[in-house]
């Protein structure tokens, strides 16, 4: 008898796609290491990563670093929860952040001096999970009877209403009392929440919460991984691929959708409660649309439907913005990213190098021309290199780089107007460029486009980091959907029309 054939590693993936993936993964020591890692049993990999997460606080004692990494765990948990709804069941849940907020507010009301209720944390967390599920069912059941699109808009409306209620439920007139009832504290939020406390042990330091979040992430990952391997997971995926066929095969699609929706809501709720306990306060603005968009960007970047993917996406989008806080450093990263993308993404490689040289040359020529014709138009660099005594070598290097860039690019006297004009020009040009067919002209057009991009970066984008971040996220969502819908680690799906 023949030995049983090993199942293909990615069950359900098209053979051709698997071949392409294999070709892509191989080669170089990174590919080999990746293959070695992928060959380990899933539980080893899981425990290994958990261990790495667990020893970080023993090595790093900075509260700031722990806070950032803890936030990454928090968002990874949220992304994993959202992944159940979006990735497995294929439902667009735009009120996810409101469930997160609902959990936070429920915890705040159940364990703070606001109504003078102080429940034990395990009970509060259980109630939070229950409330999350209940609201998930309540919202999901009317909208899921129809196409998924209704769910998108109903949940979006729920998110909006949640923030509005959070802002306005601080002066609710009730018939049984003369003074208005204050439920949410309005824009002042609710403060002085109890820390999480289990059986006599109270979580107080950043490191405590770091571990709490890590443990919660591990639990959620484990449960959802098991759930996805069970018949629920198969049913969800079948439903996502073709709801009608799934229903025709006798699957209770509506119940399955509701279950995934409620699971996501419960995960979001408990995560919100931990967040509230960590911050010891809740405010309506923690749960607005921007956080929702951020979360979606994490899930889409990592790969919809892939647990390691969405966790990675959450990690990237939490840590990278922290790195970009200093304008000098963000400049270095921006130009390095551009240069690396040019060299690695454009084939043949010499074309990438040629474009790089072309952009630098174009900048120099323009600068010299303008200085010769109308020297009054440009201004000297605004950055100054700090003295040796007060700054590290790295800081000074990035500042010198900034000066260099500002000598290279045309720095107009009025950066706002010029930058805005350039931005208005740049966006349609970039969009049109992205949709062009590959050709020599397309590569050549990169030279003025990249110069324009650097110009806009220097004049406007670096001055408005918050807006730039959202612009990048918006672009990321569109571009990923068009060119790489599977994200970084997601499996490519073969569409059968």
């Amino acid at each position: 008898m023949n030995p049983p054939e090993a199942l293909p590693e990615k069950f359900g993936t098209d053979e051709w796609v698997a071949q392409v993936d294999a070709r892509r993964a191989g080669g170089g020591w990174i590919g080999k290491l990746g293959a070695r890692w992928g060959a380990l049993p899933i539980s080893w990999r899981f425990l290994g990563l958990l261990l790495v997460g667990a020893i970080i606080p023993l090595l790093i004692h900075s509260d700031y670093v722990l806070r950032v990494i803890g936030t990454a765990w928090l968002f990874a948990t949220l992304a994993v929860g959202l992944n159940v709804v979006v990735g497995y069941a294929g439902l667009l849940d735009l009120g996810f952040i409101a469930f997160y907020g609902l959990g936070a507010y429920t915890y705040a009301l159940l364990s703070s001096g606001h109504f003078n209720v102080h429940l034990p944390s395990w009970l509060a967390l259980l109630i939070v999970a229950g409330v999350g599920m209940a609201f998930g069912l309540l919202l999901g059941s009317p909208s899921l009877r129809l196409l998924g699109d209704y769910l998108a808009i109903v949940t979006l409306g729920f998110g909006l209403v949640f923030v509005q209620l959070g802002l306005n439920l601080d002066r609710l007139n009730v018939p049984w009392s003369n003074t208005p009832l204050n439920i949410t504290g309005g824009s002042n939020g609710i403060i002085n929440l109890d820390p999480l406390h289990f059986f006599g042990f109270s979580l107080s330091t950043v490191a405590n919460y770091y571990y709490a979040l890590l443990v919660w992430l591990a639990i959620v990952l484990l449960v959802i991984y098991r759930l996805n391997q069970s018949h629920f997971g198969r049913a969800w995926r079948a439903m996502r691929e073709d709801p009608l066929a799934a229903e025709a095969m006798g699957m209770p699609t509506r119940r399955l959708k509701l279950f995934s929706f409620a699971t996501g809501a419960a995960v979001a709720g408990v995560t919100g409660a931990i967040f509230a306990a960590w911050q010891q306060s809740v405010f309506p603005n923690n749960f607005d649309t921007n956080s929702l968009i951020n979360l979606y960007a994490m899930v889409v970047l990592g790969g919809v439907g892939s647990l390691p993917g969405v966790s990675l996406g959450a990690g990237i989008l939490t840590v990278v913005p922290e790195l970009l806080r200093s304008p000098e450093l963000s400049r270095v990263i921006f130009y390095m990213g551009l240069a690396l993308a040019l060299v690695f993404l454009i084939r043949p490689r010499r074309n990438g190098l040629a474009v790089l040289v072309g952009v630098v040359g174009l900048g120099l020529i323009l600068r010299l021309a303008v200085q010769a014709v109308a020297p009054g138009l440009v201004s000297p660099p605004t950055i100054e290199v700090a003295a040796v005594s007060i700054s590290s070598g790295f800081e000074r290097a990035s500042q010198s780089f900034g000066v260099l860039v500002q000598r290279w690019i045309l720095l107009p006297k009025d950066p706002n107007t010029a930058g805005n004009l350039a931005y208005v020009l740049l966006v349609p040009a970039l969009l049109a460029w992205a949709r062009m067919k590959p050709s020599r002209w397309r590569t050549l057009l990169l030279v003025p486009l990249l110069y324009l991009l650097s110009f806009v970066w220097e004049t406007r984008l670096s001055a408005e980091p918050a807006i730039t971040r959202l612009l990048l996220i918006g672009t990321l969502l569109v571009i990923l959907m068009i060119f790489r819908p599977q994200g970084l680690l997601g499996a490519r799906r073969v569409e059968i029309a």
């Binding site: 979006v86 294929g90 667009l92 735009l94 919202l139 009317p142 909208s143 009877r145 129809l146 196409l147 998924g148 699109d149 209704y150 998108a152 808009i153 109903v154 979006l156 409306g157 729920f158 909006l160 209403v161 509005q164 209620l165 306005n168 996502r240 009608l244 649309t289 968009i293 979606y296 889409v300 919809v304 805005n420 931005y423 208005v424 966006v427 349609p428 969009l431 992205a434 949709r435 406007r460 984008l461 408005e464 807006i467 730039t468 959202l470 612009l471 996220i473 918006g474 672009t475 990321l476 969502l477 569109v478 959907m481 068009i482 819908p485 799906r493 569409e495 029309a497």
Partner: protein, 309 residues
Amino acid sequence: MAQFLSQAPQQIVNGLTLGSVYALIALGYSMVYGILQLLNFAHGDVYMVGAFIGFGVLTVFLPDAGPLLPAALVILLMLVAAMIGCGFLGVAIEWFAYRPLRNAPRIAPLISALGMSILLQNSVQLTLTAQFRVYHTEKLIPISAGVDLGPAHLSLVRVLVIGSAIVMMVGLAYLVNRTRLGRAMRAVALDREAAAMMGVNVDQVIVLTFFIGSALAGGSGVLTGLVFGRIWHTMGFNAGLKGFTAAVIGGIGNIPGAMLGGLLIGLLEAFATGFISSTYSDVIVFVVLILFLLVRPRGLLGATGAQKV
């Protein structure tokens, strides 16, 4: 009760004004949904861009000294500029963000639409800042102008807004029901493949649908500015949500339904603001949406057709 009766006529006027704005937004949603089954999240932001284009035209033609042209001409110019600008914006959005995803899973264009919406909002915030802009309508149309209908005052601006909305809707109804293009649009909405086989240029129809829907949203943005004064970069989010609610209540994909739904939502919001509380008017509209989905999920005028496989 007496207070209700005395205020009701004024609230009806307010509701009709608001409703005609929502109806115009709902039409764009409904038309695109009818043809592509796509929820165009960026539609609300197209409306916002329309309001800003109108503001730009107004600023050019209305220096402090007074209007350069007769007031009616300035308003017409604002409307036309916003409609054409937004029409092209809509076409560009379709071409870039939706067309490559025509055969992708349903969720992909939704996420791409979300990304477009963020992109539009933040582009406006970057270039024009987040501050409120104010339409100085009073320099074009005196506030006192209008007719007194006993208990209600119908100002000229509101007449203008409701009138322009009616003109646009009648034009759209004519286009959809009486012209070749309209017939092609209805055919594509009914069955895209069969329409293509009958020689309808489907891509062209879709582009024109986006143009018309976005132009209506742009016009509605200008009307909002004229009657309510303030515009800002995130105004499209809320208005888009209301417009979509209106489209659902009327029966999504159904053009008279979108008009009816818009007017109903406008009246509901005006009455909720006038008699209950302005802070909770959004909450009330949203609850009505959910109740509606429970009771009559296909909307007031929507057909209860079976889904084709």
